[in-house]
């Protein structure tokens, strides 16, 4: 039973008779092409058209969700066609518990982003809506593709629209930020391309993930190929020390750009690790585990400390992303069921909460054209609804119980301490280095939660409470109905996941279970051989 689950998780569970996933992927692109026909100056038509386009995409995504069997192992609703025959490249899209939460997040965030952009974007709406819709196609495609070449193509397609969004609608230093973003990301992904081609050569001409994952690679090969894949994904996440493009890009990006960057694009890094890097090179993952663990923990603490010293609210939120994604990375590196569930869920949580924070910061910026904390103070008196939403989202960001952030971080920590706790029970000498690393790392990481509260709450205090000292803030008006609706929807999601996370956790449960069965032994064998033997014995007992 166990072995069949483990073998099947990258196989096709069900082929789709109707190319639904291709439709999902192509829908935004279709709307973008049709938007070309609308004249430039009809801004409201473009606003409406792109919003409708994203809603229709959401509807298709809901159909996908409706047809999803959450107890099945393997890829569902697969579209599999020949794409470039001379290359052996196939057009293979599929969905499973790993990608579905992120697909839903993407489809759900896009209408919100478009609605939020109505006031945030004040010029060249035609180009904006086209860029955004193409970007959505790229993101959905990267999440759905399980053929490495089509995945890579979608992965790169995301680059150009994002580059344009930051570069055209961004702030003062937008060009520096956007070129840095582009070059950084391209550097990582091109080395991944070489690795993909190496695998392709080894397999005798296939890009199919399941086939490549079954290859026999030497240790040296695994190490280098994993490094190439991981570099691309770690830059995207971003993990310390590859994070430097992120604060620049976030600060300069227009509000919708920041939301989509934080909400979805960063998750693609962690998704890529789980979907591609680890299944392809599990034992290399074991080799790299201590390093990745260290980087994740440094990222958590470093991001939090950097966030604390920022004077610009948006930059603060950007550094908080570095910190939060450190938790996601921690969950991925630990690689047991609890931590992976947490990592997948925390990806969605971060998309919702940080997306909401960026929108809120954007609202403030539209009113005052500044984001300096020192410019504000006491504005809760003038904008009570705004302040309420902001505080609520802050609670989610610092993982207060009953908000979504709590569930995700709790699961990640539960997983980490489960992995490390035997170091305490057993004599330290026997526990092995890995468990000590986990224990120490997890301990330091939990400090990050405290630091998160410190920087967020102190920012909230300085911006919202006290007396209004700056006369410019006296004329501030509160949120209008559109802004309230957007925030209300996001807030309800925060509460939903916080109070009843099972509806989301169940989506990924089976897939995560299968992933752990399939790859944890190989990872453990390298990073903690003693534990590997221990767990193997336990499994044998369980089987009897």
């Amino acid at each position: 039973m166990d072995t069949s689950i483990a073998q099947n998780w990258l196989q096709f569970h069900s082929l789709s008779s109707f190319p639904l996933l291709t439709l999902l992927c192509a829908m935004p692109l279709g709307f973008a092409l049709l938007a070309l026909a609308i004249p430039d100056e009809q801004t409201s038509a473009h606003k409406a058209w792109s919003f409708v386009g994203s809603l229709v995409t959401l509807a298709v995504a809901l159909v996908v969700l409706g047809g999803f069997d959450r107890n099945a192992v393997g890829l569902q609703q697969v579209d599999d066609y020949a794409w470039i025959p001379n290359f052996g490249a196939r057009w293979t899209l599929g969905v499973d518990g790993l990608s579905l939460p992120l697909v839903m997040l993407t489809a759900f965030l896009m209408p919100i982003i478009f609605a939020g952009a109505w006031s945030a974007i004040d010029k060249r709406w035609k180009e904006f809506s086209i860029a955004m819709l193409v970007l959505e196609t790229g993101m959905l495609g990267s999440l759905l593709a399980v053929d490495l070449l089509s995945f890579y193509v979608f992965w790169e397609i995301m680059l150009v629209p994002m580059y344009l969004i930051v570069g055209i609608w961004g702030g003062k230093d937008r060009i520096y930020a956007t070129v840095k973003f582009f070059i950084y990301t391209m550097f990582g992904s091109l080395l991944m391309l070489v690795a993909i081609l190496w695998l392709y050569q080894k397999s005798g001409g296939s890009f199919a993930l399941a086939q490549l994952a079954a290859l026999n690679l030497s240790d040296k090969e695994q190490t280098w190929l994993f490094a190439a894949f991981a570099l691309a994904f770690l830059i995207k996440v971003p993990v310390f020390p590859f994070h430097t493009w992120l604060p620049d890009a976030h600060t300069e990006a227009p509000t919708p750009g920041s939301v989509v960057l934080a909400g979805v694009m960063l998750k693609l890094g962690s998704y890529g690790l789980l979907r591609f890097a680890i299944p392809l090179f599990p034992s290399a993952m074991g080799t790299f585990s201590p390093l990745l663990m260290t980087l994740a923990v440094i990222g958590i603490i470093f991001g939090a400390l950097m966030a604390y010293v920022q004077t610009d609210v948006k930059r603060l939120v950007a550094y908080s992303s570095v910190s939060h994604l450190g938790f996601v990375m921690l969950g991925i590196v630990i690689f047991n069921e609890e931590s992976l569930q947490g990592a997948v869920l925390q990806g969605v949580n971060h998309g919702i909460s940080t997306g909401a924070l960026f929108l809120l910061v954007g609202y403030l910026y539209e009113r005052r054209h500044t984001r300096e904390i020192s410019e504000f103070g006491g504005i809760a008196a003038k904008m009570p609804v705004y302040a309420a939403f902001f505080v609520f989202v802050t609670m989610s960001s610092i993982a207060l119980p009953l908000t979504n952030g709590f569930v995700g971080e709790f699961l990640i920590f539960a997983g980490s301490f489960k992995e490390g706790v035997q170091a305490v029970i057993a004599p330290v000498a026997e526990a092995g280095r890995w468990r000590n690393t986990v224990l120490v790392g997890g301990g330091i990481a939990s400090l990050g939660v405290v630091l998160g509260a410190v920087y967020m709450l102190s920012m909230v205090r300085r911006v919202f409470f006290g007396q209004i000292t700056n006369p410019a803030n006296k004329a501030l008006h509160d949120l209008d109905w559109r802004e309230k609706t957007i925030m209300a929807i996001l807030a309800s999601f925060i509460l939903w996941i916080g109070v009843y996370p099972s509806s989301w956790l169940n989506l990924s449960k089976t897939t995560v279970h299968a992933m752990v069965l399939a790859h944890r032994p190989a990872i453990l064998q390298v990073r903690a051989p003693l534990d590997y033997k221990h767990e193997a014995i336990q499994h044998e007992h369980a089987d009897r």
């Binding site: 794409w83 001379n86 790169e156 580059y163 060009i175 070129v179 582009f182 391209m186 550097f187 080395l191």
Partner: protein, 541 residues
């Protein structure tokens, strides 16, 4: 004879177009000539493409179909490259008229020269002997020298023409000298004769063969602008009329690489090369790596977009040279590494389309004898001329190799094929190529940054907007995207082109081994037999 003529229909069409233009132009009023010649040129070039397509589909399929007693052929390789250069000529003709009128250089001879250049290329890529190859090369080069200097009032243009002429002549002389050595060694000039002679190495020939390889190889490296023979590129590209720069960067590069491949493959292979102990693949690898790195680094600092694209052309020559490693058979092994995938011809399609789109867009900028093609002058172009801005953006993205453009798949195929050689022997080269792409992204991005992200300025509000020029930039840009999404068919064509060269070589090898088995005739009778009765190779469709 008639059969022979039928096989070179595309070339004949181009020749007729050239001669007709030359003869009829004096009789045409100036206003009419401005309207007519661009259209006529585009039409005739398109007709040549159609002729290639017809021959490709219905022609005699033996890969090595010779015409005019082993001087020309209509093999898949010849047809592929003839169609490619004719397509480039078509787009160039479309972008010409308005540009020339604005630059005050509109003369009918221009079109005739362009046809002659295309004709020369078509001859060059269809050549089955070194003499025809040389004649084609000279027809092409002479026409291009004049075309480069065609803006008579511009000092830069004339200087570029002169520079190119002198340097190009030296390269031609080298080539001819090399051909002379090969003739001396083999007693013939056709590829098949040379191959046969080289199959049976004579004692003491190594020195002369080495000299021949160095001389001819140097000439080709000059034509494709490989470092250190690239010095002419930036000046010539910048000084030439912009459509001609586009034509050079697309068609001349395609023709040069097309004949280089043929020469490497059909001329320089076999045991003689092995006895020379010249690791051709590794030598080309060094040239490739140096060329791409130097090209990209020098491109980083350019302000003029034309000059920047000139250095980028050098860099692309490096990528292509790396691609040839996978194409040629390593003489030390005596057999090709790979199934013929046509990585280099395929890459050339993407590169040619990107160059055409980019330079057509640049042709539209400027008025009254002035070109506005520096980075600063592109600022805000997306507002003034959205089509040009979009075409130029697609072009540079394709050059940078960003999907879903054709340039990405070109690079992908080169990377794949080079990586496949000898179990990753060239992995360092591949990684250097990839890092070079990242460097190149930096300067390519300057173009969209200027056009989309910098504010418009009043000083730059001058451009030409004419339908045929707009199509000249839109068509290749659309093709880049369409073929970037579905590249399969173009890959097939390119791979058939490469199969054609290989089939030619293999048939020669087969003929030789057959003769050896039969009881060891000398090399001469075998060659004679083969010349009378071409060896049938496996037809590939």
């Amino acid at each position: 004879m008639l059969h022979d003529l039928a096989l070179i229909t595309p070339q004949l069409i181009l020749l007729i177009a050239a001669l007709f233009t030359l003869v009829a132009d004096p009789f045409l009023p100036i206003a009419a000539s401005r309207k007519f010649w661009g259209l006529f040129g585009a039409g005739m070039s398109a007709l040549a493409v159609v002729a290639c397509a017809v021959l490709w589909k219905y022609g005699p399929f033996e890969m090595h179909t010779p015409a005019f007693s082993y001087h020309l052929s209509a093999s898949g390789h010849a047809l592929f490259f003839t169609a490619l250069v004719s397509m480039c000529a078509m787009i160039t003709h479309m972008s010409n008229p308005e540009y020339l009128v604005e630059q005050k250089s509109h003369y009918g001879e221009y079109y005739a020269l362009l046809h002659f250049a295309t004709f020369g290329m078509a001859i060059m890529v269809s050549a089955e002997s070194l003499l025809t190859l040389f004649i084609g090369l000279e027809i092409m080069s002479m026409s291009i020298y004049v075309l480069v200097a065609f803006k008579r009032t511009s000092q830069a243009s004339v200087e570029a023409g002169l520079k190119y002429f002198i340097m190009g002549s030296v390269a031609s002389a080298f080539l001819l000298y090399g051909i002379a050595f090969l003739f001396g060694l083999s007693g013939g000039t056709s590829f098949i004769e040379i191959q046969r002679a080289l199959l049976a190495p004579k004692p003491g020939q190594d020195l002369w063969l080495g000299l021949a390889v160095v001389l001819t190889g140097g000439a080709f490296l000059f034509k494709v602008a490989a470092v250190p023979l690239h010095m002419w590129t930036p000046d010539v590209y910048e000084g030439a009329p912009t459509p001609i720069t586009g034509f050079m960067s697309s068609a001349v590069k395609a023709a040069a690489f097309g004949s280089f491949l043929k020469f490497l493959y059909a001329g320089l292979s076999g045991p003689a090369m092995a006895s020379l102990h010249l690791p051709l693949g590794q030598v080309l690898g060094v040239f490739a790596v140096v060329t791409m790195t130097v090209g990209n680094i020098l491109a980083l600092t350019q302000r003029s977009i034309k000059r920047m694209l000139a250095y980028s052309a050098v860099a692309h020559a490096g990528y292509l040279l790396l691609g040839t490693i996978a194409t040629i058979d390593d003489p030390t092994l005596g057999a090709p590494f790979l199934a013929p995938t046509g990585a280099v011809p395929f890459y050339l399609v993407g590169y040619a389309l990107a160059s055409l789109a980019g330079f057509a867009a640049l042709s539209s900028l400027g008025k009254n004898g002035e070109e506005l093609t520096t980075e600063g002058q592109l600022a805000g172009l997306s507002k003034r001329h959205p089509v040009a801005a979009l075409a130029l953006t697609v072009s540079v993205l394709s050059l940078a190799g960003v999907p879903p453009t054709l340039g990405f798949f070109g690079k992908l195929q080169i990377l794949r094929d080079v990586l496949a050689v000898d179990n990753g022997k060239y992995l360092p080269h591949v990684i250097i190529l990839v890092l070079n792409s990242v460097v190149s992204a930096y300067y390519y991005l300057k173009v969209p940054v200027a056009m989309y992200m910098r504010p418009d300025s009043k000083a730059n509000r001058q451009y030409v907007r004419e339908p045929s020029l707009t199509w000249a930039m839109a068509l290749p840009a659309l093709a880049l995207l369409a073929l970037g999404i579905m590249p399969g068919r173009a890959m097939n064509w390119a791979s058939r082109s490469e199969q054609a060269i290989r089939a030619g070589t293999e048939s020669a090898n087969v003929a030789h081994s057959y003769a050896v088995v039969k009881g060891g005739g000398s090399a001469k009778p075998v060659a004679a037999v083969a010349l009378e009765k071409p060896v049938a190779a496996a037809p590939v469709r």
